[in-house]
């Protein structure tokens, strides 16, 4: 059989497409999962995808600003995780559930 047409080095577009795929998977997780924690993790997944594209672009642009952006994204993600998990804990304490659809008091 002929060898697979794999180039020596992966073009940058692959990285970006990978990040797109991961992002969309994150969206899917956000949309289709009902466990608050999983939803939250899907958000983290999206953030990671975005980080990947940041880093790829900074490779493309030959400057490390993208790295710094993704560093900031990480920091923000950390803060968000702290607060979000605290919120989840409180929600669980008050409602004994992690079902995201149970927590729909915003309605009306």
């Amino acid at each position: 059989m002929p060898p697979l047409p794999i180039p020596e080095a992966a073009p940058l577009s692959w990285y970006l497409i990978l990040s797109a795929i991961l992002f969309v998977l994150g969206v899917a997780g956000f949309l289709f999962r009902r466990n608050i924690i999983t939803v939250f993790m899907s958000i983290e997944l999206m953030l990671n995808a975005v980080n990947l594209s940041f880093v790829s672009f900074s490779y493309k642009l030959k400057q490390n600003d993208g790295h710094i952006f993704s560093f900031f994204v990480m920091v923000v993600a950390a803060a968000e995780a702290a607060v979000g998990l605290a919120i989840i804990l409180t929600v669980f304490k008050n409602r004994q559930t992690l079902e995201i659809d149970e927590v729909s008091s915003l309605k009306n």
């Binding site: 939803v39 995201i100 659809d101 729909s104 008091s105």
Partner: protein, 619 residues
């Protein structure tokens, strides 16, 4: 020279007492309060001696610049303090008399609540007063001006549980607003026309103005300044707040409403003399205002039964004297009177306070009498004050009042005569009060007792000052700033004024010691006049009817119900209503499920990306 130390020290006292006073013990509080003022008094002495003010130095102003406050275009206002002879006199009065009154207040307020609050306010007042005096430009002067107004408001309303006190405070504040309005307009005009607010620059330019046929705005500035002065120094037509201000504790009346703050107007006009000198008209107005105020207040003072009210009206009339002096161009005489008046009027109030203290808070002359044996020290000191204010030679009041009257005579004889009559009435009602208080037999019930030493020692000091203070030759001291008026040479004016004073005392003695029944008879004989005077010419009622009530009703109906309730609230509520209506429509899209929201977001973003892809936004 560190001028800034002078006001800062009381400020520190204020901060300490205001912040931690609640926890500190009374001795500590009073030590901080009086001590800070004493320190700044000593610092004033050191500064003045350092500047050679006592040895004929300090002919020109000594200025210190701290930092630039406002820098806009040509206008450059800095926070800088200046000290010249006028300032020196005021500094001595404010810090010296202020210190004595602080000491007195320690004893007087001993049984009152809010001890630390009182002294914090008092120190704050000292700070602002010193800023007012030291400020080297109109803006700083204005800062101090407003600050003392604030403190006077706070202290008049010190017994904020009584309604009359708070009302009096509000009255003082509002009436002062009117004056301050004029003052601020004057400041603006000055800034416009002189391009600066620094005293030095302004007066230097003012000197170059043509003396006669000065442009109209000079007169405007002067009149506006006068408005401000009438507000602060309780002149017609804005004097009404001062008598009510007696609602405050007596030391306050002594310090703020007799010795220092109310003379701020005088100081300000004297300070602006080189502007006023270019507007003879404004000077005439000042003189007329002064003399009329003096006369009217004196007449009102004749019939008051509240001892503090009597002295309050006498304060007003004495201030009238000062304005008369200013108006007749004898600025130094005016400042001279400021000083002597500070001595004897402070003494009068403190003595009155001592009497009230002795009677456990009773202020009505009709409940006094025969106290001279019971509180001899107070009696003696008050007598000194009386002879001083009555202008009996050789005591202090005589010198200053004589200087004023002679100046008035050279300016316009009728003013002189009115002044003489006023002097007569002054002597009369002051001694009326004193005789009612100390002679005859005791008509009250409370058991009187002499005040503690901490109260009567200041009295004694002030008594000494008001007896001998006349020999501090202020006009001589101020000569480099205000050239002395040439001696009129007609001796008889002096004798007439002396005679007026002595006559007034004698009449009072006749009425209230020898034949106590006479005044009643006379009052009945001239019932309408008596009622008119007794009710202070119904001025308050007049103001209420003409100014106050219309203002209140107008603001209530027009501003509150009309503008605020309908227009503003209507707008706000209307916005709210519309928002709610719109939201009610949008609400239908809100399932409350986070994931549905997210789905919408995703759909939207997909649409955007599609558009970008197909119509080449991305390329």
């Amino acid at each position: 020279m560190q001028l800034w130390l002078i006001p800062i020290l009381p400020l520190i006292g204020f901060l300490l007492n205001g912040l931690f006073g609640r926890k500190l013990s009374k001795p500590v509080v009073s030590a901080i309060a009086a001590g800070s003022v004493l320190l700044s008094f000593l610092w004033v002495l050191k500064t003045l001696s350092g500047l050679g003010a006592f040895s004929g130095g300090l002919d020109s102003a000594y200025t210190e610049h701290y930092y630039t406050w406002i820098q806009s275009g040509a206008l450059n206002i800095g926070v800088d303090f200046a000290i010249d002879r006028l300032t020196a006199v005021m500094l001595m009065i404010v810090t010296g008399v202020g210190f004595l009154i602080h000491v007195y207040a320690v004893g007087y307020m001993d049984h009152e609540g809010g001890f630390y609050r009182f002294f914090a306010y008092l120190n704050l007042f000292m700070f602002f007063m010193l800023v007012l005096v030291l400020g080297a430009n109109y803006l700083l002067l204005f800062v101090g001006w407003e600050g003392v107004g604030l403190c006077s408001y706070l202290l008049i309303g010190f017994y904020f549980l009584e309604k009359y006190a708070t009302d009096a405070g509000n009255k003082a504040f509002i009436v002062n607003r009117i004056g301050d309005f004029g003052f601020s307009l004057a400041v603006f005009l000055i800034a416009i026309h002189f391009g600066s607010l620094d005293f030095g620059k302004v007066f230097a330019q003012a000197k170059d103005l043509p003396v006669e046929s000065a442009p109209g705005w000079v007169t405007a500035i002067c009149l506006l300044l006068l408005v401000g002065a009438t507000g602060k120094s309780a002149q017609i037509p804005l004097y009404v707040w001062l008598p009510d201000a007696m609602a405050g504790p007596t030391p306050v009346s002594a310090l703020i409403h007799a010795a220092t703050m109310v003379t701020a107007g005088v100081y300000m006009i004297a300070r602006s003399s080189s502007i006023f000198l270019h507007s003879a008209f404004a000077l005439d107005i000042v003189a007329i205002v002064g003399v009329t105020t003096a006369f009217f207040a004196a007449t009102i003072g004749l019939a008051q039964n509240d001892i503090k009210k009597v002295f309050a009206y006498s304060t007003v009339s004495q201030l009238g004297y000062m304005f008369l002096a200013l108006g007749t161009g004898a600025f130094s005489a005016g400042i001279f009177h400021v000083m002597t008046h500070a001595f004897f009027k402070a003494l009068l109030f403190l003595g009155a306070g001592s009497v009230i203290h002795a009677l456990g808070g009773d202020q009505d002359l009709r409940n006094m009498g025969g106290l001279r044996t019971k509180i001899p020290i107070t009696f003696a000191t008050l007598m000194c004050a009386g002879v001083a204010i009555a202008g009996v030679p050789p005591f202090s009041g005589y010198h200053s009042k004589d200087a004023i009257l002679s100046a008035a005579y050279q300016h316009a004889p009728w003013m002189y005569w009115v002044g003489v009559i006023t002097a007569f009435m002054t002597a009369f009602y002051v001694f009326r009060a004193l005789f009612l208080c100390f002679f005859g037999e005791y008509r009250g019930h409370h058991h009187p007792h002499e005040s503690p030493a901490i109260m009567w020692i200041p009295l004694a000091v002030l008594a000494a000052l008001s007896l001998g203070g006349g020999y501090i030759n202020i006009p001589k001291f101020l000569e480099p700033m205000f050239p002395l008026a040439e001696e009129g040479g007609n001796e008889w004016t002096v004798y007439v004024s002396i005679a007026a004073g002595v006559g007034g005392i004698a009449l009072a003695f006749l009425f209230y010691v020898v034949a106590p029944s006479l005044p009643e008879a006379i009052a009945n004989a001239f019932r309408p006049i008596y009622t008119l005077i007794y009710n202070k010419y119904f001025v308050d009622e007049f103001y209420d009817a003409t100014v106050v009530n219309p203002a209140i009703d107008g603001s209530r109906t027009l501003l509150w119900r009309g503008a605020d309730a309908t227009v503003i609230d209507g707008a706000v509520n209307g916005i709210g209503k519309t928002a709610r209506a719109v939201g009610g429509v949008l609400k239908l899209a809100q399932s409350g499920y986070i994931r549905s929201y997210a789905a919408w977001v995703v759909a939207g973003s997909i649409a955007v990306i599609l558009v970008m892809a197909l119509w080449g936004g991305a390329r």
